[in-house]
């Protein structure tokens, strides 16, 4: 008995339940629906829900907990329990139908409960992320000393034991790539936002704003390939090699530059919104004193919008730190602490991918370190996100 067939059975039974419940409600009322508290369809829906909900919950539990159950239970008892639950629900709900049964209230209470369940999935996701990261990180620190992870400056995993798993080279690579990306994205994004919100004509805006936002909709794998095939070799052949700075096509510069392009719309869209929220009266006051448009932007609009712009930059920074595919394909895999931006370096996300892909068993520190790295990443981005959202919200309140 496969779950698929069982699900079909439960759904079919629920459909029958609806029809049966509706008919029974009508016959209890002697064919006159007006005598019922609730309309017949609600009686049908109540039967349907009593048939389907417990059975589907059991079914899901069976599918997900199958590895934990004994084979006999899994093959026979569990499907039987599901079928019995469906039939029992159907029978119980059908025989309960009376003229004054408040079927609508029952159905609505159940629906609200389902809706609450839907919103709790978001909470469950967060709990799942935190618990799985913390649990495996603790496991990791039992096998590998925490002070070495946080203080060591070498990263040299060796499958077979005796690895150095220091966080610093990865953290440095992550921050360096993100810095390069922000150095590219912030000026371009900010100037684009200034031009779009203060200078551009309606037609320019209608064309340029969506064009820039397309950059945000392109999957990161496309940027990764762009870095790997076009930008990396270009930088190597035209900048790094003539200047004698290195001969690697994957480098901090490659990844940072491409990531910077990706981040432009993140900076520009939010800054654009925020600058549009600055009251026109402030601009008019500045023009009235004889300031030029650029002086108004620099002395009045930007300072007024500054908190929001800082929020936008923090959100972009959080994106940069958590970005994976561009650095996997553009930054390289060598963990080193270096200042030369044309050297290949590696980041936290690259190492999470490389430690967890392939055949992984969850017993060695070389695999479990990925969870500690994941937790580090999660904490960093969480702090940046919360700070950014707090700043943006505070700022919005200021002018509302």
């Amino acid at each position: 008995m496969t779950p698929g067939i069982l699900l079909m059975f439960v759904l079919a039974l629920s459909g029958i339940g609806f029809a049966v419940g509706r008919q029974r409600a009508l016959s209890v009322a002697g064919g006159d629906a007006r005598r019922l508290h609730s309309r017949p369809s609600y009686h049908g829906a109540a039967v349907l829900m009593f048939t389907a909900i417990p059975a589907v919950i059991l079914l899901l539990a069976w599918v997900f907990l199958r590895p934990l159950l004994a084979p006999g239970v899994s093959a026979v008892a569990a499907p039987a329990a599901v079928a019995i639950a469906a039939l029992a629900g159907l029978a119980l709900a059908t025989f309960r139908i009376r003229i004054d049964l408040r079927a609508r209230n029952i159905v609505e209470t159940l629906i609200i409960a389902i809706l609450i369940g839907c919103s709790l999935i978001a909470v469950a996701t967060t709990i799942g992320i935190i618990v799985s990261l913390v649990f495996e990180t603790v496991h990791f620190f039992q096998l590998y000393p925490a002070q070495d992870f946080f203080l060591s400056t070498t990263w040299n995993p060796r499958f077979g034991g005796g690895s150095d798993l220091g966080l610093w080279p990865l953290l440095w690579g992550t921050l360096y790539v993100s810095l390069v990306a922000l150095v590219v994205a912030v000026p371009i994004g900010l100037m684009a936002a200034v031009y779009l919100s203060e200078y551009a004509s309606r037609r320019t805006r209608a064309f340029a704003k969506p064009a820039i936002e397309v950059l945000a909709g392109i999957p990161t794998i496309v940027y990764g390939l762009f870095a790997l095939v076009t930008v990396g070799p270009f930088l190597r052949d035209w900048l790094a090699q003539p200047l004698g700075l290195g001969s690697s096509s994957s480098s901090v510069m490659t990844a940072g530059l491409v990531m910077g392009i990706m981040l432009i719309p993140f900076v520009s869209s939010l800054s654009d919104d925020i600058m549009n929220a600055v009251p026109q009266a402030m601009r008019d006051g500045s023009y009235g004193l004889g300031a030029t448009q650029s002086e108004t932007v620099r002395r009045v609009v930007l300072p007024a919008a500054l908190p929001g712009i800082v929020g936008a930059i923090l959100l972009a920074a959080s994106r940069a730190i958590g970005e994976t595919m561009i650095v996997v394909m553009g930054a390289g895999a060598a963990a080193r602490l270096d200042l030369n931006p044309f050297e290949a370096m590696t980041t936290i996300t690259v190492k999470i991918v490389s430690q967890l892909t392939g055949d992984t068993e969850f017993a060695s520190p070389e695999t479990l370190v990925a969870f500690a790295l994941g937790l580090t990443l999660f904490c960093f981005t969480l702090v940046l996100n919360v700070l950014a959202m707090w700043i943006v919200r505070k700022y919005r309140e200021q002018y509302e």
Binding site: I112, C118, I121, V123, S132, L225, I264, S294, L356
Partner: protein, 443 residues
């Protein structure tokens, strides 16, 4: 009033100071325009670079030769029974193809120099015998006939026709020699070799490192489609349900505040963290199979949910309260007011958000790498729901997979896969825009 009066000056004379200020105004404006131009140029370069190398993947080099399907070799029993014909392995077909190619070259009178038969056969793809074998097994009546076939050429020959492989590069290449390429040139002159549209790129499964010419996206497209199915079936109802509860029914208290902050945070969590979650929970604890679309779909669902809930709430919020009040006024319950009146009016906005969320999920790569979707998968998954548990690939992961291989022919295929991915994304986003234009209402 001891100040000496300022010298009279007309407003029409510009002072140095004014000139400086105007120049700086102009500079500022130019900086703004250049920022826009740079962004759009970057977009254009990105697309040109991908499209430029990717469109080639849709055309492939074929060798057109008559192949005698010898009954004595392929069907010794002579009863055209596919089960018995399966005894003949690809080696047998390889010999047939080799003979056919050598004969065809001799018949056309092309100079072969001192190339051995093996080197001549090396112009064909190693995948070609298997393709021919499947073709014959599917249609046993072909045996005994001589059919003219378009046989897949080797990746290097394909590269030569597309300009990726040159006579110089062939000298350093162990897989092809300049003499072989001269023969290809002669064959091209005789019309035996040429580029043609290659539908197999969209339907064939992945191929091994030595056969880039045979690699296709069939399994990846199917896997992505399965995952999108899972995401749609789960994220749409759950996301809309959560949005309805939070927007219409939730009381204002600390707990619902917590849910709201939580959802906006989840939308900004790096996607790779969802991959770790999927690995730890779905694969480690629930022991679901690796590389399976169901796991990928579940991970992408969790990732997409907040990105669906936020626009869905905005859509519900934009429905004016008078609609609810009118429904409540004629005796509807709160639930009836929402489900019969508010939700249908908010539906276009909600669906727009769902499509955009799905498009993001379709292009997501990082979490899928962690749950093992990067594995080499050659068999198609079966039909859902069972097929959801079979191993499959996904389009963006297939792109990554291609780029990790040594042969530069795979870069072309990676770009081609991106072209396919972008076509899907453009279709989805256009649908979202049209939906918004068509049904958006301003109250």
């Amino acid at each position: 009033m001891t100040d000496t009066p300022a010298p009279h000056r007309s407003l029409y004379d510009t002072s140095d100071r004014i000139r400086r200020r105007n120049a700086s105004e102009k500079r500022f404006r130019v900086m703004g325009i250049s920022a826009i131009v740079v962004s759009i140029l970057a977009l254009a370069m990105l697309l040109v670079s991908v499209l430029g190398s990717g469109l080639g993947a849709f055309r492939q080099t074929f060798v057109t030769i008559p192949v005698a399907l010898d009954a004595a070799v392929l069907d010794k029993a002579g009863n055209r029974n596919p089960d018995e014909m399966k005894k003949v392995t690809t080696v047998g077909y390889e010999k047939l193809l080799r003979k056919a190619l050598v004969d065809a070259i001799a018949a056309a009178g092309l100079p072969v120099g001192d190339l051995t038969e093996k080197e001549i056969a090396g112009l064909l793809s190693q995948e070609a015998p298997a393709t021919l074998r499947n073709q014959v097994l599917a249609d046993p009546s072909l045996v005994g006939q001589t059919v003219t076939l378009d046989v897949l050429a080797n990746g290097r020959v394909d590269g030569f026709l597309k300009g990726r492989v040159t006579l110089q590069s062939a000298e350093r290449d162990s897989n092809i020699s300049p003499a072989q390429l001269h023969l290809v040139q002669a064959m091209q002159g005789a019309g035996m070799v040429g580029l043609a549209f290659n539908p197999a790129f969209l339907t064939a499964p992945d191929a091994s490192d030595l056969r880039p010419e045979a690699a296709g996206l069939g399994v990846a497209i199917l896997g992505s489609a399965y995952m999108m199915l899972v995401v749609l079936l789960l994220a749409l109802p759950i996301g809309v349900g959560a949005a309805i509860y939070l927007e219409e029914f939730a009381p204002k208290n600390r707990f619902t505040d917590l849910i709201e902050v939580n959802i906006s945070n989840l939308a900004a969590v790096p996607s790779i963290v969802y991959g770790i979650l999927g690995l730890a929970v779905f694969i480690n604890i629930f022991e679901l199979p690796r590389s399976a679309p169901i796991v990928g779909g579940l991970v992408l669902t969790l990732m997409t949910l907040p990105r669906i809930i936020i626009p869905a709430r905005a859509a519900l919020k934009s429905v004016p309260p008078s609609i609810r009040d009118a429904a409540l006024g004629v005796g509807a319950s709160r639930l009836q007011a929402v489900f019969h009146h508010v939700l249908p009016l908010a539906m276009p906005g909600i669906l727009t958000g769902v499509i955009i969320g799905l498009a993001q999920a379709l292009g997501e790569t990082a979490p899928l790498l962690l749950i093992g979707m990067v594995a080499f998968v050659k068999g198609y998954p079966s039909a859902p729901p069972e097929g959801l548990f079979d191993a499959a690939s996904a389009l963006p992961v297939q792109v990554y997979n291609f780029t990790t291989r040594g042969d530069p022919a795979f870069v072309e295929r990676a770009s081609g896969a991106i072209v396919v991915l972008l076509v899907f994304l453009i279709v989805m986003n256009t649908a979202a825009v049209l939906l918004r234009r068509r049904f958006e209402r301003r109250w």
